[in-house]
């Protein structure tokens, strides 16, 4: 069925942070946008009562979920299924993929991360850490002979990083950012984040207290490195920083640029850019919950950022979507894109085919085609790749779907000598940047090392598992209560989030044998961990051993294939790794159409009116949580599209 409708300026797939930034920026600049969202209508509502009711239903689902996994609060739709970490299982052998969940996991190792298909995308359950990438991360090939260089430098991305930090509402201290390849020079002169740093946890202070020499060192591969602790910038609300000057991001047609504004803003009532009177200028105002602007102005310490912030003090993409010009934006939910249609002659995209379902439990749908001047795929790294493969689009380089990456998290856990009271505050408030960059990247992966505030919850499901084993061992009464108090309050967890290198064989493919209920492809994942990663696991465990010894931590780390199916051996020792939820690299950006899918504006080399947005664009991952960087890239792409639509 062809839609009888006007042609939109831009058609966007996906209402996650990438799609939301595009929709907001383009509509505020006067462009007409159609946004297709695979998830349920209820989740997109900007009506205060409906939005509140729907979000409380998420919270209720979370409370009742026996396993509090990242997607547990959100509906998993038969007609638009989400990847779920609860479906991860070992792969028995080649040609015997695991098909338990939405992904078809061909292995040899299962891919360890999930994401959310639904309004707001994965920002609904993201943790919210927003460190920037390092300048050297953009030049991995030149500096370290690994992977590829980006077609842009850190400096090119700096103005867009600043836009992303305003959009997300980052709390942090620029002055405290340090580490290899990090200094105040990574930020502009006098630059600040919108809000002051999120207070570091009591647990952070306890750990840092064990390292009170003027310089603390760790040894890795025979070389000494300075152990440092840094407060992590993050997308959750804290106290506004009075020195932060910016109030909005606007399109400046005369200069053909998106610009951060100190004294102008886009007025959602008049739908115009208006001046802010200097006398009336107030501090930065934190962005509250979508149902109530006055709720969620501070993180309230729910300690459940993943999977759900009950007060929406943590950023999610619906906050951005709400700021779009709703008169210029049409959203169609329950609309699952299946194909990008290509004009054989011009090679331009001529439409998007999508399937609209009424009831997600039933395999019934109607097929539609919609048209725009420009098309933006922002449906997540795996979905973007899948749709392109299904359409035989943008793939003259044969890179679509390849170079799937994640942070492979080696977790280490132990008991602190004193009570440090985990399971409080945001998931992580401090990180060790020591191994984020260095010559060792020629040999093995770099990593960032967040201190975790939530005990051993991730690897062994504490405190539930502590209760279960104590009770099953016959403990009861005051002895049980004291035991839980003595163990859980001393739990320490470190993650060594190792940067996965791009490898063509780690990839998304499609296979007509594996379809979802409405006939769309399920992604088939081929995945493994190379020696470059395993070497990093070995080095990381040795660094962890030193940190634990110096802090008097009793190591309880125990890796096994039973604990987690992502289990590898290296030099005779076994290691588990866990996915970080950082799904990256499936349609990489590059300098030439021979070896990449998109150019530095995220435009596909093969189709002049097709742009890709999201972490799939990232040629390498660095050691940063990728959302901030992909948001910066989204602003860059929005600018390029606006420039082009002007002509």
């Amino acid at each position: 069925m062809k839609d009888r409708e006007k042609e939109y300026d831009v058609v966007i797939l996906g209402s996650g942070i990438g799609g939301a930034i595009m929709a907001k920026t383009l509509t505020q600049a006067g462009k007409s946008v159609l946004l297709l969202e695979a998830g349920l209508e209820a989740g997109i509502s900007m009506d205060k009562t409906d939005a509140f009711g729907n979000y409380m239903s998420y919270l209720d689902r979370f409370y009742k979920a026996p396993a509090k996994a990242p997607n547990s609060p959100y509906p998993n739709l038969k007609d638009a299924p989400s990847i779920d970490v609860l479906d991860i299982q070992a792969i028995e052998g080649c040609n015997k993929p695991s098909t338990k969940g939405y992904l078809v996991q061909a292995g040899p190792l299962p891919f360890g991360s999930d994401c959310l298909r639904g309004p707001g995308g994965t920002t609904m359950h993201w943790l919210g850490s927003t460190p920037r990438m390092l300048p050297n991360d953009f030049q991995m090939k030149t500096r370290y002979g690994q992977g590829v260089d980006w077609p842009i430098t850190y400096k090119d991305l700096m103005p867009y990083y600043e836009m992303a930090e305003l959009e997300i509402g980052v709390s942090g201290s620029v002055a405290e950012q340090k580490g290899p390849d990090v200094s105040k020079n990574n930020y502009g002169v006098g630059y600040n984040f919108p809000m002051k740093k999120i207070p570091q946890s009591y647990l952070d202070a306890n750990v840092m207290g064990h390292f009170n020499r003027p310089v603390n060192k760790v040894n890795m591969n025979g070389k000494e490195y300075e152990l440092m602790f840094v407060s992590t910038p993050q997308g959750r609300n804290s106290i506004p920083n009075p020195d932060y000057p910016f109030r909005d991001i606007t399109w400046e047609p005369a200069e053909e640029k998106l610009k951060l504004q100190t004294n102008k803003y886009w007025n959602s009532e008049t739908k115009k850019v208006e001046k802010i009177d200097a006398a009336e200028k107030e501090n930065y105002v934190p962005v509250g919950a979508i149902w109530n602007q006055n709720e969620g102005h501070r993180c309230e310490g729910n300690a459940s950022c993943v999977p759900i912030c009950p007060v929406q003090a943590k950023y999610n993409a619906l906050k951005t979507l709400r700021r779009a010009d709703q008169e210029k934006l049409e959203i169609r939910t329950q609309s699952v894109a299946s194909k990008v249609l290509i004009d054989e002659k011009t090679k331009e995209v001529s439409g998007i085919e999508y399937k609209r379902y009424d009831n997600d439990d039933l395999p019934t749908f109607e097929t539609h085609v919609t048209k725009g001047r420009i098309y933006v795929l922002a449906a997540s790294a795996i979905e973007n790749a899948k749709i392109l493969l299904a359409s035989d689009a943008a793939n003259s380089s044969d890179q679509v779907g390849r170079n799937l990456m994640d942070h492979l998290c080696l977790l280490t856990w132990g008991l602190l000598p004193e009570k440090a009271y985990p399971f409080r505050g945001p998931g992580s408030t401090t990180n060790i940047p020591t191994l984020r960059d260095g010559e060792f990247r020629k040999e093995h992966a770099a990593c960032i090392i967040p201190l975790d505030n939530w005990g051993w919850g991730w690897p062994v499901f504490s405190p539930g598992s502590d209760v279960a084993s104590a009770v099953s061992g016959g403990m009861f009464g005051k002895e049980l209560r004291d035991h839980i108090n003595g163990i859980v309050t001393r739990q320490l967890l470190l993650h060594f989030e190792c940067e996965q290198a791009p490898e063509p064989s780690n990839r998304v493919t499609i296979d007509p044998e594996y379809l979802d209920p409405i006939g769309n492809y399920r992604p088939v994942i081929h995945y493994d961990a190379s020696d470059y990663m395993k070497k990093a696991f070995e080095a990381s465990k040795k660094v962890s051993d030193q940190i634990f010894a110096d802090a008097g931590v009793e190591d309880h780390t125990a890796y096994s294939a039973d604990l987690d199916p992502d289990y590898v051996e290296y030099n005779g020792k076994g290691y588990n790794f866990w996915g970080a939820g950082h799904i990256v690299g499936t349609h990489r950006m590059g300098n030439s159409k021979e070896n990449s899918v998109v150019d530095s504006d995220s435009k596909t080399w093969d189709h002049d009116n097709l742009y890709l947005v999201g972490c799939g664009n990232m040629p390498t991952l660095g050691t940063s949580n990728p959302t901030l960087t992909m948001s910066a890239l989204a602003f860059k792409t929005a600018e390029a599209i606006l420039k082009r639509l002007k002509k």
Binding site: P66, S201, G425, P463, V467, G477, R481, I484, V488
Partner: protein, 146 residues
């Protein structure tokens, strides 16, 4: 002699004090007593449950705390006793679960494990901005009195 439900509810509460290590006020403060009592009733063999309450009543009349704990260990905690009911009751109070399922949203929120660990259930009873950078607040009361 037929016992009334009220008697059993009282026994359930009193034996729960010894099973969980939380005093009566702490247990009543969860607001979950009736729900948990009913959950046990709905998911246990009535005959076995009767035996359990008879035994619990006998144990509670033993007098001092040490004697009661000794009796509980011997007669309620073994998996062979009353089909493991005592352990299920402990898990229910600590985790809000029965048979691996969360009983209801409130039972998750009222799980005693979070109190035992001096924190709050993730996603509920949030202690406020910046609270995590200080020690948990110790309310001035006798912690383990029953």
């Amino acid at each position: 002699m037929k016992k009334s439900k009220v008697d059993d509810l009282q026994i359930f509460l009193e034996i729960s004090v010894y099973l969980t290590g939380f005093n009566k006020n702490e247990l009543l403060g969860t607001g979950m007593l009736d729900t948990y009592y009913n959950t046990v009733a709905a998911n246990s063999n009535p005959e076995i449950l009767d035996f359990f309450y008879v035994e619990a009543r006998r144990i509670l009349s033993c007098g001092n705390e040490d004697e009661i704990n000794k009796e509980i260990k011997l007669n309620l905690i073994p998996d062979s006793a009353y089909r493991g009911l005592a352990k299920n009751i402990i898990t229910m109070w600590y985790m809000g679960n029965w048979g691996g399922q969360v009983i209801n949203a409130e039972s998750y929120i009222q799980g005693l494990v979070w109190d035992a660990a001096e924190t709050h259930p993730p996603g509920a009873k949030q202690p406020g901005y910046g609270s995590w950078s200080e020690r948990p607040i110790h309310i001035n009361c006798k912690k383990h009195s029953s």
